[in-house]
Assembly symmetry: C2
Homo-oligomer: 224 residues x 2
């Protein structure tokens, strides 16, 4: 009497390079759309929570384990999959690439990073899912300190500003940015400088997650 449906999870995984905000795509190894680009994902098993599916698929397709993961939106148009009715719960993920590299495996023949402003055509409704994730990330970095998930634990202020510029897609005023971020007093000055750079070495900072959590409990709002 009840209809039973296939449920999938798809992930929009973001990282940053020196010059780009990038997203991970998978060249599909199996039909439908074999050889075309898609977001990494797969089907939810009967005995598996949604987030467990997301973590399993990311691990199987890319080898990634340590990742910031958050549910984005559930896409359920009746005809979004040519095979049969498939509803997909989309997640977005942020990863600091300096800690991990990606390797393709199992049902994905190839995993690759693409700059967000230069993506190939995506299968299913994955372009819509990607656009929704972009919008959420842009909105959320302004009022939650999630951007730090994309950086290594130690970073300079110019690196942090560059990250925000890549996500927001526009340049930010340097003085204003420094003033705002330092006024929140959430960066720990490590008393160290970056090494191995030709230009003048910048001071290294660390985000104070414990202090942020305490302040948040008391009603503090992060804002950039």
């Amino acid at each position: 009497m009840l209809d039973r449906l296939c449920l999938a999870v798809d992930c929009v995984v973001f990282s940053v390079s020196a010059t780009d905000l990038q997203v991970m795509l998978i060249k599909r190894g199996i039909p439908p759309f074999a050889g075309e680009w898609a977001l990494p994902g797969g089907f939810v098993r009967r005995d598996e929570s949604l987030e467990a599916t997301a973590r399993r698929e990311l691990y199987e397709e890319t080898g990634i384990t340590k990742i910031y993961l958050e549910q984005l939106y559930t896409f359920g148009d009746v005809d979004r999959d040519p095979r049969e009715r498939v509803v997909t719960v989309a997640y977005y993920a942020l990863i600091n690439l300096k800690d991990q590299s990606i390797r393709p495996s199992t049902d994905a023949s190839q995993a690759q990073w693409f700059p967000v402003q230069n993506l190939p055509k995506l299968v299913f409704d994955h372009e819509r899912i990607f656009a929704t994730a972009m919008q959420r990330l842009r909105a959320k970095v302004r009022y939650e300190p999630i951007g730090f998930e994309l950086l290594p634990p130690k970073f300079t202020l110019p690196e942090l500003q560059k990250l925000y510029e890549l996500i927001l897609g526009c340049p930010l005023d340097k003085r204003n940015f420094r003033k705002k971020i330092l006024a929140m007093d959430l960066l720990i000055d490590l008393g160290e400088k970056e090494t191995g750079v030709k230009r003048r070495a910048g001071k290294l900072y660390q985000f104070d997650q414990d202090k942020y959590q305490q302040l948040k409990q008391k009603g503090f709002n992060f804002e950039i």
Copy 2:
């Protein structure tokens, strides 16, 4: 080979009375948990989008048709339903009660409004779904003008302030509130006064949705 699951939609429907922010609950007419209170909802049919399910269930269980509806979050814990694996896509809805009344029907034996601070015990994981909706509503009314969906088209400033106080759960400074809301220049002064009140009649306003949409396109942020 693929597991197929039951997919449901549950709705957290908010309205306001003179004294309370309230949520609509259904006394379940069928097992499991017959006679206990639940959020209105039901199963997604194979040929039906998620939002169509939400609108159909709300209509069947309450007779409500005109409603602001937004997807909230998808809850997929493996053991959240004693019958079998059921994943539920939760929506939250805002309704202006002056336009519509509710009537119970079909598989719900009774539909009733409860003040949010005084809910009965809810079945399944519906308390968690309700808490998630409360959190979303409280956060969102501050940066999107969705609160107006809970008011009749013409309202006074004290009514608007009361609405915000009910949602946020705390009193607001009257001068500050008026200043903030009027400074955005999004309320149309209708040149009318409320009628049928014993106290001094207040000026009636209307929210300028068209102007808000135009401003939003240009990067304007609503903020209370």
